[in-house]
Subunit: 223 residues, 2 copies
Amino acid sequence: MNHLADNWIDRFQGLRGLPADIRADLKSGSRIVSVPAGTRVFEPGQSADNLLLLLEGTVRVQHHSATGRDVLLYRVHAGESCVLTTACMLAFENYSAEGIAETAVTAAAIPRKVFDELVAHSSIFREFVFTAYSRRITDLFTLIDDIVFQRMDVRLASRLLELANAEGYVHATHAVLASELGTAREVISRTLSEFHRRGWIEQLRGEIRLLGREGLEQLVRSV
Amino acid sequence: MNHLADNWIDRFQGLRGLPADIRADLKSGSRIVSVPAGTRVFEPGQSADNLLLLLEGTVRVQHHSATGRDVLLYRVHAGESCVLTTACMLAFENYSAEGIAETAVTAAAIPRKVFDELVAHSSIFREFVFTAYSRRITDLFTLIDDIVFQRMDVRLASRLLELANAEGYVHATHAVLASELGTAREVISRTLSEFHRRGWIEQLRGEIRLLGREGLEQLVRSV
DNA sequence: CTTGGTCGGTGACCAAGTCACACAATACCG
DNA sequence: CGGTATTGTGTGACTTGGTCACCGACCAAG
């Protein structure tokens, strides 16, 4: 993991331009943390005191609703910052969103105080942070648009295409897909049956195999 | 309008603690602008070069979708900052959200350059900005939750209670309410008929009169 | 008074979410 | 190893919400 500790800053597009002195502050002021898959990186009510910059793995940010269902809000990938923890850090409000490590995760944790100093002293760091915020906000806009206007079959098709690995397998139960899209498990089951009927997929327990991407892609494009 | 120009900073909770020198910079670096109701304050594709702090009026931030319908994302009220313009200012991405003045609006416009300096030099200003961001993000979370899990009748009832003036009148057409809630006009018409049938409201052209708030409030609470 | 535009109402239909099951595959455990 | 619990999936009946196609009522301008 030492190679990570050395030059992790360059993994972030927006930080590459940082001058040497700020880099040094950032490196010495932060520490590298690793957590296993499934860890709650942050949770409702808990005030975060570190900004996380993801070096490896993905974090799923979701909202747990009163009715017991979850909605996926967005994913944070390696090379992105988990700006929601910033929000937690700096704002008085406590969120009802939680972050869960989907895979094993390695991240650079920047304490509140260091973060504040970096924002004050580096315009590049400022831009990095604000860009991260805007990306999240636009992601949320897109999500809302999707939820309101897009048909479920199209949303599911495009999600399957996203989640499929190189061999065309998607490792996910119907229930997981339902929570990804903020819908009910039954709806996923039915839509998948339909996809199967059309010869686009094959179903296994806990897994879906895409038989070519053409059909699904056409459905997605057809909007 | 001169009384506004003098002490507008104190209208913002988060800015009251600003030290005198920063205040002076903020005041001299910004200017007061007024626009009539209906003005597009910002729009997709246009890169904003001012952060707006609303002194009077409200701005409706909405997303215009490909299907021709609009969704209300949130409202910015007097005493709040329109942080989306910040996002536009600082980020490379161009938004598909637009801001429309719902009433005549007076605002303090802070140019990009001044904004950046203030963020660098004042921790209080920093906190103000980040707090604004977090509030928007949580608002969006709540909206998503609402859309996904809440029944339309409940959402409409609570919106009517919000929008009603002291005399219990809501000045809005069914079409407007539909776009507020991201649904179709017909759905609003039906739900309002149902509310009328229950004796909760009276309908006029372009206007709704609440006959007491108890029924609606009970529906909202019943969730 | 016409005419065109806005506003609201309605029925038929489709898409999606809910509820209540049933049943198969797998995991666990004595 | 076999039995039981848990998890994953399938399905029918029903409700809610969104879409489409229309209509008639109101309103303002000429």
